[in-house]
Amino acid sequence: MSRSRQVVFIAVAVVGLGSLVGVGAFFLDPARAAVGPLPAEGLLLPADSRFVVGLDVKRFTASPFYQKFRSQARPDALRELEERTGLNPERDVDQVLIAGQATKGAGPGLAVVLGSFDTYKLGQSIETGKQKAAGRNFQGFTEFVFNEGGPEAMAVAFIDRQALLIGRQAAVEAALQGRASGAAPLRTNATLMALLERVKPGSTFWMVGDQSLLQNLPGTVPSPAGNGAAIELPALRSLIVTGDLEPVVSLAITGDAADPAAAKNLANIVSGFVSLVALQASQKPELKDLAQAVSVATDQSRVLVNARVPYEVLEALQPKREAIKPPALAP
């Protein structure tokens, strides 16, 4: 065998071996069912979900955004989670996935919380917490139900030490049943699956929603002319939002319109509003930087809005706190 053939043979062997290991990992790794940024556990979310939101908690808490706005910007959902379960999201949680219906009266969605949990301590804290809930076994999983029997009974269930389910009791139990039978309900939602595959992996937060999510949005907005006229907003078929918080706050929004003309129309409306913000720069100079940070483009029937806002601009946009004046001395 010539030297060249040996080199080619070694290269083929390395690639072949790597491919075999890869294929083996693909079929043996339980995370193989992941779609886009959604891990395997996310497929337990309900099939009739109209939107799915994901938050990479580790990236979020490590970001300058969280450090700067920690006191004001801590999400209520995480605070509520900590109050109810004794869980420290900063320490224990890696990722939060939320699916919902986006219709009036649908109630809170179902959340999958991924991380590393001490299920014994967590169960104890739930049982002895303010809203006592007794643990029980449901399809082989530990479940805690709050307000059981009530119309809005909520439940927390441990899938394992790395995953929790939180939401309405019915939704949690449906997901647990799916888990027990090896089903992946969300996979049957072809619309959301297609949208999830388009999400940029590795984002700090992301959201996908189908057209029913957008039905609640106003169909018209007031005209900038201010004469009482209204601009009709072209309908969107779906929406994908991804964002990162480092090194700047960046947001990418992709909306699928009905056709290229509708996309262009919507892009023009958004551009118009960005221009309006820029016009306010004479009164508030930081608005000029904000307007410059936003770009709007179209790609066939898609509207792409990108924003990259430096932290300095965000800080400048914060309302100025008045200096604390010492109390006036009595004469």
């Binding site: 290991v21 079929f27 790794d29 992941a34 992996p201 990162d244 990259r308």
Partner: protein, 277 residues
Amino acid sequence: MSAQAVPASRDTTRPLPFLAAVRGVFRLALEGMLWSRRSVLMAILLGLPIAFALLYRGLPIAHLPAKITGFDLYAVIIARYYVRNLLPLAALFYATSLIADEVEGRTLTYLLTRPLPRPAILAGKFAAYVTTTLAMTLPSVVITFFLLATAPGASGIGAEVPELFRDMGVVALTLVAYGGLFTLMGVLLRRPVIPGLLFLFVWELIVNLPGYLPRFTLTAWLRSLLHHQPAEEGLGGLLATQILPAGEALAVLLGTSALFLALSFWIFAQREYVLEQ
């Protein structure tokens, strides 16, 4: 005395069959291509990500909850280092020299005076180029993937494996597409390297512009086939990255590669090369 059967000798007045000629040129070209200074330099450059991945694995930071994961780094290496920069450069240096080196070294006459169909010479050399570059690139991609993707632990790697196969496909397509273009430049131009560099690092920059212009670059189509879209910094980051439909991208890349190669074969078959004395 026993009469031994004399093997029927080949009619040397007729050229070799196309495939046999391609195989012969391929073997000859592969030997010359793999064991060249160019290949040593390329092997070092293509192997750099492995060294980087080993360094990353060795650093304690790889085992901490990181803001950027090992897989994120792998994504940057594939999208920015390989597909955007190094592989087009490797294609430029190898593919432009397929014929240019023979002209420069005044050895083209020896090839052209053999009973070989001219397209078979170019086909054999192009096959040797693809084999050489793939033999250096794909193992590097596979090793880098496993080193970086498993840095925090092997759990979850199964979900990333489809990306590896996709990346290997895009890497191969990058080498074929740019290889086709630079082969055309090599048979068309006497000094193809400078125009090739201008194409790569000036013309291809329009990929960052909005509108229809990015469609006139190979990068835009190749980038659209990758799932990795690392954040752009600087001026490029201000503009939205255009992601073109994957099916369309595949068709365009295969079509342009075939077109470039067909033109190269036709020009090489027609052209009379006058060697400097």
